[in-house]
């Protein structure tokens, strides 16, 4: 009975905080409406994961060009827009100081500032029983599912991994490494790398993932972090079930005369 009461309180608190945030989000663009209408924002790799706002670096030279059709970033004038140094990363010692930069993830994570305060403070006697999990085994988490719908049916690891394999037990605004020490959300590669070592190695060598900027091996590059492309709570999504969600394609080439639409190619194959 007592336990139930605590659950409800937690739910109410977290839910309250969440609704407050979403309300604020809805209200925000409404105020400077005429200004916001002109602003061009395009998404980078994964929709919803990272964006760039178009602005002119110098007259006629924008930091980014966006696709009028899909809203995707199509051209970078400034590859380092909104970046910070990557931080320490084992195996990247040869790169000169400040030449490896990333876009910080934490700014994108709307829930982060609240997690450790409203619910998971890691110590508070009021909350400690339900918020510090007893084990690492999967349990239903209706509160969390309400906030992040992807968590409802966690599509990562096919039932063999759960929240605490990635999130720190007592510090909820941190991820966790193999030793139980905290990792910043801005360095997800350290988290993912603990299970996907081969991918981490390829990523470090620039083979997996993406880097933009100067191509020379010591040049300044912006590195895309794992979560800019992969949604950690749903890596199985996508038609090919291999970790990247589907997106809308850019326009197709000009149709040659005599070809009315794209299906022509299918209906009139080149015979052999």
């Amino acid at each position: 009975m007592k336990k139930l009461a605590i659950y409800t309180t937690v739910l109410a608190l977290c839910g309250g905080a969440f609704y407050a945030v979403s309300a604020a989000e809805q209200a925000a663009p409404a105020q400077p409406a005429p200004e916001a209408a002109k602003e061009v924002v395009c998404f980078e790799s994964r929709k919803g994961a990272s964006e760039v706002t178009q602005r002119d670096i110098k007259p006629g030279w924008p930091n980014v060009k966006c696709s009028p059709k899909t809203g995707a970033a199509l051209w970078y004038g400034d590859p380092y827009d909104g970046t910070v140094p990557m931080g320490k990363m084992p195996g990247l010692d040869k790169i000169p100081e400040g030449h490896a930069v990333i876009k910080p993830r934490s700014e994108k994570l709307a829930l982060m500032p609240m997690c450790g305060v409203s619910c998971h403070n890691g110590v508070g006697p009021q909350f400690s029983p339900p918020t510090l999990p007893k084990g690492k085994k999967p349990v239903p988490l209706p509160t969390m599912e309400a906030m992040v719908p992807d968590l409802k049916d966690l599509q990562h690891g096919r039932g063999r991994i759960w929240c605490m394999d990635c999130h720190h037990t007592t510090q909820r605004n941190k991820l966790v490494d193999h030793f139980g020490d905290p990792i910043s959300f801005d360095q997800p590669q350290l988290l993912c790398g603990k299970c996907h070592g081969d991918k981490l190695r390829d990523w470090r060598d620039g083979i997996h993932g993406k880097r933009i900027g100067e191509f020379t091996s010591t040049g300044k590059k912006r590195w895309f972090t794992c979560t800019e492309c992969h949604n950690p709570h749903n890596v199985q999504d996508g038609a090919r079930n291999r970790g990247f969600v589907q997106l809308q394609p850019e326009p197709s080439p000009q149709l040659p005369r005599g070809m009315k639409d794209a299906s022509h190619e299918k209906l009139h194959p080149i015979p052999h």
Partner: protein, 364 residues
Amino acid sequence: MTPNETLPTDPAKEQSSECPVPPMSADPAANVLKTSRRDFLKSGGALSLSSLMGTAALMSQSGDAEAAVEWAEHFQKNYRLMTPAEKAEARLRLEKRYSDEYGKKVSVDTTEAQPGVLMGYALNIRKCIGCRRCVHACVAENNQSRGTKRPGEKIEWIQVLRMERGKFEQEKMNHGYPEGLGIQVGGNAYTPAGAVLEGQYHYNPEKVPEADATYMPIACMQCEKPPCVKVCPVRTTYREADGPVVIDYNWCIGCKMCMNACPYWARRFNLTTPVLPKEEMNPVTHYLGNRPRMRGVVEKCHWCLQRTRHDRYPACVEVCPVGARKFGNLLDPESEVSKILERKNVFRLKAELNTFPKFFYFYD
């Protein structure tokens, strides 16, 4: 050849490619005013004569800055034979002309190949999702013609081929090939046999990747033994010391021999006067790279020379959402392409032709 380029629409062009009697002495001045050196070359045998006459006509009606520019361009040497001073002069001339034409400060870079650099490219064929962002990044960067009205007005250097994933079926085990002709040359349990080999270019689904398809982007492979360079009658296309095969657009006569020779369908022809709106024009250009082209010349991918000569990744590499495109210095063992060649399974397209592309396909 891409399907786009089979459609001559311009009557003037038609005429010149058929090479009728050269319009020798008819009225050179009228002929010359609008056209440039390459048009003379095209009109056949008596080129030196008509060329000289054209120049005379130009000079006589000069005083006009534009004519002076054309006159200088007319006598410009093949880029490779120019002295540094001549290059600088050509550069200033072009910068002025483009700046006036596009209403903004346009720079024409002439940076040479750097020693110790050999550019290379690798594409992860398994990751490509067919979204075509590379195609459009390339257009935004490289000042291609982007008209929509007439065929051939829209030029794209990268083509993304959609290949259907076929399957073998029990029901078709006894189907013959060719169908219904008695003698069979092969079984046909595979669907969709025949449709896949050339790929599809114009696919346009709601979302990519589609479950039943794989995608294969192609563009210039920057061959070490480029067939296009071998056939060029005026030696205007050649391999630069750091790898890319480039074109001196001014020296191109538009004979399209290179387009026929290229086994990768990489070259495009400016059938019409390029449509390049002022506001979309990229003002940072290279002489051998993305400077605006004229009608009647061939163009193709040059690995964004204007960027890569200054260590910047090509535009297509930077926008690929899945990170399938990789670029680097093949001579640097630490570069990403060197690491790929060392560690991954790579192949070259049409390797049997011995063109030795520096563009590699790989997969994890």
